[in-house]
Amino acid sequence: MRIFSLYLFKISSMPRRRRLRKIVEPPKFKGYKPYGHRGQKQAVELHYEEYEAIKLADYDHLNHQEASVLMGISRATFARIYDEARKKIAQALVETREIKSVFGHAYLDKSWFICQSCGSKFNTMPSADNKECPLCKSIEIKALTTK
């Protein structure tokens, strides 16, 4: 009984796995810088998936439901990412901060993998067998896909 309750405790205290968000194309920029102001502040980090959310909703004029299907996440999650993206951009504008685009929790719509042992990301090669991490030779690799 005690072991069972410990097990339950372990499950409930573990954070949920963060699903990866699919993006069609990474942003074509590495960042944006304000000019005509004084002092340097820490940059705002805009994740790829946040950029993608802004693009789908505000540039391609999709509604949240359509956009969430494209990114392989639920509508509610999309709304949260989108909200976060808008807050970050607003913060950057008001506080004259740089915007940097960082990888975040996205994956490109291609054959990319992540090694769970050393944390490196890599794409597959048609020539080699792709069952292990090319760097640490660990077999604990996971495809960056949702389907």
Partner: protein, 104 residues
Amino acid sequence: MKTLITSTGNSIEAEMDMRFGRALWFCINDSKTKTHSFIKNPYANLRGGVGKEVLNFIIQNEIQQIISGDFGANVRSNLENRGVQMIIIQDSKPIEEIINQLNK
């Protein structure tokens, strides 16, 4: 297999360079012969079109694998089409550590 690692210096104690095209040095490791050599990146200070020049360099040297911190969008799709494997490491490491892993 020939692997290119972007480096900040010309010795194995140097940290890897998180940039790809504008990395200061390239370390080329051959896992077959277990040898490595350092080449200064001639395009590090070029104004534009660095990615293209480095791509040519990679094709000429028959490199099959690249380890860096990030790859630009153009370079990414180009390397993908040519079947060159990209490995992204998010935290910088000394070159020695990477070479040891590759030659294992």
